[in-house]
Point group: C2
Chain length 479, copies 2
């Protein structure tokens, strides 16, 4: 504890603001390992919340948790060709243990398809063994060489990885909507985070998948970032790993598989999107401290104010996470700054006036508005304010996202929108050539093809080549 | 799914029984990585339960979760001399990423003192920053070269690692009893597992600690195995990592630290201790399926029996985890065998007789006793049976443990007890020389010095040298 060290840039200088907000809030910290960060308790609390709610929804959907080894033998890792090509440059290899050199290199999992499907091929023999729907919560290493950014691009991150196998393509496909719905609900209901769900284009899909789907967010710098994703692997991995079963007719078939993940990156997007010049703004449901009580007194009023503050604190239900900040060495203003930087949703200010009137002054972190309320049904009142704050945060973020999308009909319009750091929504013929040219000329890539804007696409023309359009795509600069 | 493949040895052939029970039950599996296992859903459910209850108790005690990098730079890892010497032979090193050789080797954490204390030294400046009580749930790699045994000796295991820092030695010491109490309660209340709590001798303590404490179990082969542990690190790591703070008098001091852990090894001990010739016996609170309903019918009675079985299944509360095993291809006897192998606590048998009488026949997995009960208040009746099963399992295991301990007064007695594969409880002078000689001559090592048998030790003589005794020690062969 030392002098208060606030953020010394505005949020408009986004990249500097972002790292200052994450580090100075004491939610995260750099570590001695380049590109890897430390999750401090308030930051990790957000991940624990995401895990808890996602895991519950997975279990209700019939998915079961398991745990597979961290290390993957090189020969397994190489079994699916596209997969290994996609991940190889970023794989960390264990080659020595103590003073002994290993006979075979071991990869630290960048993702676990290969080690999991090696087991699944032993377990699946009959249609009665399907569907097999497994998930694990773990960390993965992808040693990117681009400039690292805490949570958004780190060499180690935390995630869930769902890996499922089905008897038919239809069953496998029907899982997609349910899983994307679970992710969307967690993002909306807990992180107050709106996103755009859609399919990735062929060139942006996952290494080894048949088709990929994502939820994308818009960051304050106008770049998009990919959140949770879902991949239909078809029979690609089943063929590489020999995952075969006897179907009801006694025929030996390959299984159909899916993979899906939510990662700690969504925390970065959430902090970036909700924060302001003062620091973080944490959605109430994932904030370790939801309400902070700051007593304001002088020598004369001290006893009375502290006694009233303590009474209020004790009246607040245990399911609201409250902190009475009665440390004597900081001024109330200093405390306000600290808790604002850390994004505590509600601040209750209690002075001699509140004590005499039997009231509370409550400040909401997102709007910074203060309201005086009576000390009556305070649990109901505070719960309602927390609820309203969540709703308002979601609505605000949703408006920002909606306003960032421009429907463009010509390539000139597309270029203009990209220069304005926005999302250009355009019809596209489906050829990789057009997609690549757009990327080369504007630096904007196809983020995804939103599910809800595809209707009537057959009447449109490709924004680049003018041929008949097949998809509507969001083009934007991205992380 | 195939022919039922039961355990083909008795539990008395312990080592073969143990691996068959873990693998054939489909709780665990071998993997393609030598010495690393797969946690399948029923096995992982036990770990999730341990995590849930331990984590709740930690949080109630004020401990907060965090997450630190998996990889530790070599220069950090080497900072505490005893620590690095203890772990170096088992460390897996990352030396290459993609095709690039790293400038500095990175250790996969065998334990995280070094990476965590590097951060703690930045965070702790004043007595107001203390105590700092952190925990993380993660996996660690210790590449042992001894013969691996699933859960008991694996190269990767899952654990909690608590790392705390205090302003005074007294505060640091006072944490010990609370943490060991939390671990004992989780073992007793959820795993029905009794253990012996005590201090480790100087030569058996943790690499880098001032003193170590453990909870030890007795395995069916008479060998002891160490469960959860707690280490007072004193100022050892604080000095190596420069964890200093200004105390209330403005003096700059080193912090006092502790470390504590429970690992997936306790699952192995639990399965080994409770199992029988038929397979696993899972304590009800950590069993993914607590009750299985097996309908027994012929063509004529099928509809009636299935309809009654379904009604019973639906009457059982959702907080009891029940499965109606109505798959048609296996005989009831085959199903009995499968669920017994997998240790499902209660089996409800329903035939035409039960249906007509409005009764249930319930078999308890631990005693294999059947009881016919009326279909009345079945949730109360089943809950009571599950509760009683847990109590009885704990009592049985506690009796086995108590009967295995022999108090010995002479070295001849000690040797005899060790030959009988039991625990020899003996007075000891405290010299490493005697301890080493006993180990060399009997292959029994000091497991720990139980807290509850130390009174009056000063009147006793060392079992080996006859000098004045300082401690009462449990000697046993061990894992």
């Amino acid at each position: 504890m030392a002098q208060f060290d606030g953020i010394n840039v505005k949020k408009s200088e986004f990249s500097e603001w972002y790292t200052q907000a994450l580090i100075k809030s004491e939610f995260f910290d750099y570590s001695s390992v380049s590109g890897c960060i430390v999750f401090r308790p308030d930051g990790y609390f957000i991940w624990e919340s995401i895990q808890k709610f996602t895991d519950l929804a997975f279990k209700n959907d019939g998915i079961r948790n398991a745990y597979f080894p961290l290390l993957i033998p090189e020969k397994l890792f190489e079994k699916e060709k596209e997969h290994v090509e996609g991940f190889n440059p970023e794989v960390a290899w264990v080659m020595q243990v103590g003073n002994s050199k290993l006979d075979e290199r071991l990869a630290i999992r960048p993702t676990s398809e290969t080690i999991i499907y090696d087991s699944v091929s032993k377990w699946v023999k009959s249609w009665r063994d399907l569907p097999l729907r497994l998930n694990q919560w773990c960390s993965v290493i992808r040693w990117e060489f681009k400039h690292p950014t805490p949570l958004l691009r780190t060499r180690e991150f935390l995630w869930n990885e769902g890996h499922t196998a089905f008897a038919t393509r239809e069953e496998a496909n029907s899982e997609r909507e349910r899983i994307l719905q679970i992710y969307s609900a967690v993002l909306k209901d807990y992180l107050a985070l709106p996103g755009i769900s859609g399919q990735k284009t062929e060139s942006e899909k996952f290494a080894g998948a048949e088709s990929s789907y994502s939820i994308e967010f818009i960051m304050p710098d106008g770049k998009m970032i990919q959140g949770p994703d879902f991949h239909n692997d078809g029979q690609n991995f089943a063929k590489a790993f020999d995952i075969k079963f006897f179907d009801k007719d006694g025929k030996n078939q390959y299984a159909y598989q899916n993979t899906f993940a939510i990662t700690t990156r969504v925390i970065g997007a959430m902090l970036a999107i909700h924060g302001d010049d003062r620091g973080l703004v944490i959605p109430p449901k994932v904030s370790r401290i939801q309400i902070v009580i700051v007593p304001i007194y002088n020598n004369e009023s001290k006893d009375e104010v502290l006694s009233y503050s303590t009474r209020i604190c004790n009246e607040i239900n245990k399911d609201l996470r409250v902190l009475l900040d009665d440390i004597d060495i900081y001024s109330p203003g200093n405390k306000f700054n600290r808790h604002e930087l850390r994004g505590v949703p509600l601040r209750i200010e209690i002075g001699i006036k509140e004590s005499r009137e039997n009231t509370l002054t409550v400040a909401r972190r997102d709007t910074m508005k203060k309201e005086k309320i009576e000390n009556k049904d305070i649990n109901d009142q505070l719960s309602r304010m927390l609820y309203q704050m969540h709703e308002d945060m979601y609505k605000k973020a949703k408006d920002v996202l909606n306003n960032a999308i421009s429907i463009v009909n010509t390539y000139d319009e597309l270029k203009k929108v990209i220069l304005e750091a926005k999302i250009a929504q355009a019809a596209w013929c489906g050829s990789e050539k057009c997609e690549k040219k757009i990327k080369a000329e504007t630096l904007a890539k196809s983020t995804n093809m939103p599910f809800d804007v595809q209707q009537g696409v057959e009447k449109k023309k490709c924004v680049y080549c003018g041929n008949a359009a097949k998809h509507v795509v969001n083009f934007a600069k991205s992380y």
